[in-house]
């Protein structure tokens, strides 16, 4: 049920993000979504990539240090209150969110919420028990393909 997320360390300097993107592009690897956390000093680039294993390999070959983390993707209605409902459930379960980000695919009216939990298994249990659709990798990337078709 969990999705692999790649994290890379970035110095806050011009051109550093594009070097990563160029590496992936040269191997025909598409980034489904990404999020960038930044501090005064440095940034952490987090990416969801279908071919995560290949992406990790090519990036490491280029000398990048790649961290692999399991995140949880849920699907909600892309409308007011869609996210609030999910958050309420998480709040009640006393599960801690380390961070999250959201994205939509080009078609359909559904949004994907990506969560990094301190205890992902407990979170998945709570979410599914409350009727929230937690996507496994196959489902997630199927939606990406659907929108391209």
């Amino acid at each position: 049920m969990k999705i692999q997320q790649l994290s890379l360390f970035l110095e806050n300097k011009p051109g550093h993000l594009s070097a990563i993107c160029r590496t992936l592009a040269s191997h025909q690897i598409n980034i489904s979504t990404l999020s960038l956390a930044d501090t005064q000093q440095f940034g952490i680039l987090r990416m969801i990539v279908r071919e995560w294993d290949k992406a990790r390999k090519v990036l490491e070959e280029k000398g990048f240090v790649v961290n692999l983390t399991e995140v949880v993707a849920t699907e909600v209605e892309d409308q007011p209150g869609g996210m609030a409902r999910v958050l309420e459930i998480i709040e009640k379960s006393a599960t801690n969110i380390e961070y999250m980000y959201a994205f939509t695919f080009r078609k359909g009216n559904r949004a994907i919420l990506v969560f990094r939990f301190d205890n992902p298994d407990a979170a998945i249990k709570t979410l599914t028990a409350n009727g929230i659709n937690v996507l496994d990798p196959v489902e997630l990337y199927a939606r990406e393909t659907d929108t391209r078709a």
Binding site: F9, A37, T39, I44, V65, Y99, R116
Partner: protein
């Protein structure tokens, strides 16, 4: 020299008499004291005995001053290896003071003084102050750090023995330094030259013109500086800036000082025997040739030091000085034969940073040290490559690693470093000996 003695504008302080000993007398004093020192070290310090026995050298083999070359060198690691009290030649009941300075790794090096050693130290500091024209009645603001560092207490005792009025303000708190300098009418200040440049700027911010204050002399040391810095200090503050030299292993400040001529530092040769060697071969070089300064203490009791390799690069100036002093001078020191850095007057070795990094898992081996000077204060930045072990998807984890490194460094060297995490493979890999330190401090 006679003219000098008769020049009432430049009265020589009575304490300075040994500075003017005729060469044969000076040599006689040196030889006698060298005998006593070598005998004492051989009899009382197993380390020195073992080193001399290895070379089959006995104290009786030292018949002339040149025979000092038959003695083995002492290096900083000898102090570390005998930590803490292994090189003491006096029992603890005769030792009245301990000081410590940074060693090449985590452990400090410890130095000891008997009461007689403290008296010698005070006397060379008196001669240092006197050489800069200071006398009883002067108000000396001592902004060297008090504590284990020899700078603070060394200058303090010397200033008191001179009969001057000492303000034991210690380092830091620049606003208060300037307020006291102005309100108490300090006529001299002791600190690192870079800190004084910082004080000049701070005074400007506070709307105080240092040139209007009674300040007439600055005794600056504990770090390398340049003629350009001297010119700037003197132009902006109106005082005369004197370079003082010393190191804990020998005694602390007061091994040498500039006189009014400001043309090299007179070594108090009646207490410290200087040699210049080729740092590669250990061969002694003649006066005028550049090499590493080696010092032998001639009167220390608690911790005699035989041919201590200072790692400071200089030369002995062959010409005599216009001031009339017969004790020889060394050129201002601005290079070292090892990788020691001097940061805000504190000695720091890259190996100490490495020890600190070792305590935080996953941070070695790729790091570099960058030294800068901002507002005349030294800043140390340590760049550490992010490795697989420390990489995380969470900001707080990386921040915590950064803080751990910063804390480890501060507790090892006593100075706060700015720690920067950098991308993997961005620190230059070198063939052979890694270049760990980039010094961007402009000594102007």
């Amino acid at each position: 020299m006679l003219e000098f003695w008769n020049d009432t504008n430049n009265p020589v302080h009575p304490a300075s008499a040994p500075d003017f000993l005729p060469a044969p007398q000076l040599k006689a004093v040196q030889l006698h004291r060298l005998h006593v020192t070598v005998q004492r070290a051989y009899e009382r310090v197993p380390h020195f005995k073992a080193r001399m026995d290895e070379r089959s050298t006995k104290p009786a083999d030292i018949r002339t001053l040149e025979d000092v070359q038959r003695l083995p060198f002492t290096v900083k690691t000898d102090l570390r290896d005998t930590y803490p009290f292994g090189l003491f030649a006096s029992p603890l009941q005769d030792i009245v003071r301990l000081h410590a300075s940074s060693g090449t790794t985590g452990k400090p090096i410890v130095v000891a003084y008997t009461q007689a050693d403290i008296d010698v130290w005070s006397s060379v500091m008196v001669r240092s102050f006197a050489a800069c024209g200071l006398r009883r009645g002067d108000i000396i603001q001592n902004a060297y750090g008090y504590g284990l560092f020899t700078g603070g207490l060394g200058a303090h005792y010397g200033a008191e023995a001179l009969g001057a009025t000492v303000i034991p303000i210690s380092g830091g708190n620049s606003d208060r330094q300037i307020m006291i300098m102005k309100d108490f009418g300090s006529t001299a200040i002791c600190c690192t030259p870079s800190y004084f440049l910082h004080l000049i700027e701070q005074a400007q911010v506070m709307g105080i013109d240092m040139k209007s204050l009674p300040l007439k002399a600055g005794i600056f040391g504990a770090e390398p500086w340049t003629e350009a810095m001297r010119k700037r200090i003197e132009a902006e503050s109106g005082l005369k800036a004197y370079d003082i030299y010393g190191l804990s292993e020998i005694i602390g400040p007061g091994v040498g000082i500039e006189c009014a001529c400001q043309a090299g530092l007179h070594i108090f040769e009646d207490h410290f025997l200087p040699e210049i060697i080729n740092p590669e071969t250990g061969k002694v070089l003649p006066d005028g040739e550049e090499g590493e300064l080696v010092l032998t203490t001639l009167s220390k009791q608690a911790m005699p030091m035989i041919r201590y390799r200072t790692r400071d690069i200089t030369l002995i100036i062959p010409e005599s000085c216009a001031c009339g002093r017969t004790i020889r001078r060394i050129r201002r020191i601005n290079a070292r034969s090892d990788d020691m850095m001097i940061i805000r007057g504190v000695n720091v070795f890259p190996s100490q940073i490495e020890v600190a990094l070792l305590s935080v898992e996953g941070t070695l081996p790729h790091y570099q040290i960058i030294l800068t000077r901002e507002k005349n204060l030294d800043q140390i930045e340590v760049q550490v490559e992010v490795t697989r072990e420390i990489m995380s998807d969470q900001v707080k984890r990386l921040e915590s690693v950064r803080q751990k490194i910063s804390h480890a460094i501060e507790s090892t060297i006593g100075i706060r470093a700015r720690v920067t995490l950098v991308e993997p493979n961005t620190i230059q890999r070198s063939q052979g000996k890694a270049k760990r330190v980039t010094d961007n401090r402009r000594m102007t």
